[in-house]
Amino acid sequence: MIAEIGLAALWLAAALAVLQLLGGLLGAGENGHPLAALVRPAAALQAGLCGLSFLCLLYVFAVTDLSVLLVANNSHSMKPLIFKLAGAWGNHEGSMLLWVTVMALAGGAIALIERRLPERTMLATLGAQAFVGLGFYAFLLLSSNPFERLTQAPPEGNGLNPLLQDIGLAFHPPTLYVGYVGLSVAFSFAVGALLTRAVTPEFARVMRPWVLGAWIFLTIGITAGSYWAYYELGWGGWWFWDPVENASLMPWLAATALLHSASVLASRDALRTWTIMLGVVAFSMSMVGTFLVRSGILTSVHAFAVDPERGSFILALLAINIGGALAVFATRASTVSEGERFSPLSREGALVVNNVMLSAILGIVLLGTLYPLLTEAFDVKVSVGPPYFDPVSAIFFYPMLAVLVIGPLLRWRKDSFARVKWPVLIAAALGLAVLVAVALLSDISLLALLGLALSVAVAVSSFMPLRGRSLRRLPIAVWGMCIGHFGLAVALFGMSADSAFQQERLIASNIGDVVDIGPWQARLDAVKPAAGPNWVAMEAEMKVAYQGGEWRDARPQSRHFWTPPQETSEVALITRWNGQLYVAMGNQSQDGRWQLRLWWKPFVTWIWYGGLLIALGGALALVGRVVGDLRRRSAAGKLVERREEQEARA
């Protein structure tokens, strides 16, 4: 029964999306069209119905209703509840339902909250949102029904992949998804603004919080995914430029560029067409990413259930949406003027560099990810990996960071170097000092060396915009910017330090052996069996000490799951502020000794602290913007006055 309710709600939501699309388009074309009044309620109701449908899916997973095909295939009554729920979106159909649900919720939220833009632009935006949504409804209802029933329920479900039973993995995909799908809002706003020829600073101000929201989720999702790969796979790698990793990075890069160009448009009414284009590109990258992951045309470590038919469907949606957006763009771009001018040495100038560089990195990642696919068409197999991506992306990333040292200090429109000379020189001098000191004291790669120096310079300069300002009255959004940039520096420092100073020991250890690894000593005391609900393991009881300090416990395990049979390595992580000791356990060798893998990874945790700081910066900026908007809205009279003024000007 519950499953049928979910399906019915989904069909109703799709019908409302049709109404929303028609009303939106007609209302945008003609002032006061009768259907226009229905658009916002339709969007809100659609959000409610989709939410209901998703709750139904969660319910059938929670009670393990095995008469539902999806549950029978992907769940198991022995799973802990949290992983049963996570199973709801850990498969193709469920994740597509999550996709339309997030889209509908975002559309509903816009419909209920957003009243600052001209109504026609809003109608066009909601119409565009419904158009994109309908494609996914069709996909879901016609070829991937998550609520399909079995005529006979099997006695037990067959989904219990132990690698996927991890709290990090349970929440990593939906987090990324919210980010992916959230970018659809940027897409819809861009299309709506283009359709009604209303690419204004107000449009950028309205779009920005939504993009920020999606971007925060993407940032957290990527950070969490990186940490998951790091501890779960047992080899201590945090980024391998794997196609699926790149698929999540590309929308992030586009969204980051969009955020920065939107701030130029919002504050200075410049970069209009560019901002629109990025809005389209950002969501396109989300869809390309989904396509690459779901169609399985690329070889990736992430084994998703793949199906060429699904791939074709997503590809068709991609073509319709992007083709449509580009067509609108082609017919309207000439009506959007370029906007205000500015001097090269200005905040806008620095942001242009940021945008060009981010776009270039995006292009490189896209090229490197898809290139093997291209050569395969000619029956040549190549691999593109870290030795390519690291240096080539750094060509653009590092100059961008150099500009980031000065950019946030500059004023809008026009500035002089003399005004910002001292803070920039201090940051540059510190960076240079680190460069020289590290280069003299150690022998590390150029990329890591430059990374360390630039991260120090950016970290120092990131808080320079605060100098000379009253910290109490400073807008929250400025705090957000400073913390976000500081987070980037922290993450880069972690990456550079880990790749430059990481130490590795592989040993076969007898009970009682002591090994040195970097500043650590590790001792294997015993190896004992351990057991969990669906696994047995060999657990190493180890003691580790940092620079002769007190002995701490470390208990890596080698786990064997049985349904389905699989071996995983549960690593032991001993964290200090300046890095992590990473201990993984291997097999027993012929002579009775135990294989141990130990890494000392200086500052590696800073990568993820940095990622979280970036997300925190985004969250502060979001709060700052929303609070600012609320304040402005409370002065309602003023707002009306302003809008009238604007319309008079237009």
């Binding site: 284009m277 045309i297 060429p308 082609a330 291209l374």
Partner: protein, 178 residues
Amino acid sequence: MRKVRIGLWVLVGIAAFLFGLFAYQLTQPKDEFVKSAMIGQEIPAFDLPAATASRPALSSADLADGKPKLLNIFASWCVPCAAEAPQLAELERAGATIVGVAIRDREEDVDRFLGAYGNPFARIGRDDISEVQLSLGSSGVPETFVIDGQGRITYQHIGDIRPEQVSMILEELRKAGA
């Protein structure tokens, strides 16, 4: 505005190219196999010990005795290798000389495997650290190479040999001079 238009066309071009590529790749079966780059080349020199007492050892010199052969890479622990055993037997009956390389295997396991699934091999070498496998550019078990009389690799078959593929393998062997 010309600049915008150029940018737009570049974007349209990239998008169209990507669609074309994606659409083309979707219609292609996903080929997970890694082909050896050694086809057409002389087989690298090796000298493996015997994997079983019942058959002599295998060295690269044995493969250049003027007669084309099949070189089958297998292992007793590999499930598809058991599945292709009837096809190897059929090939042997059709007159093919088959030599084997047992990957990461013990003598007793090889004997058990040959006892259960038959022994079509003239010689079997034992490769404990996949050295010969790596030098042949083979990336898994089972794989079957066609070697001509001069010890040149002329063909590589990846995966188990299906019943319908036996005649194709014989044809490859014939092309190599049998």
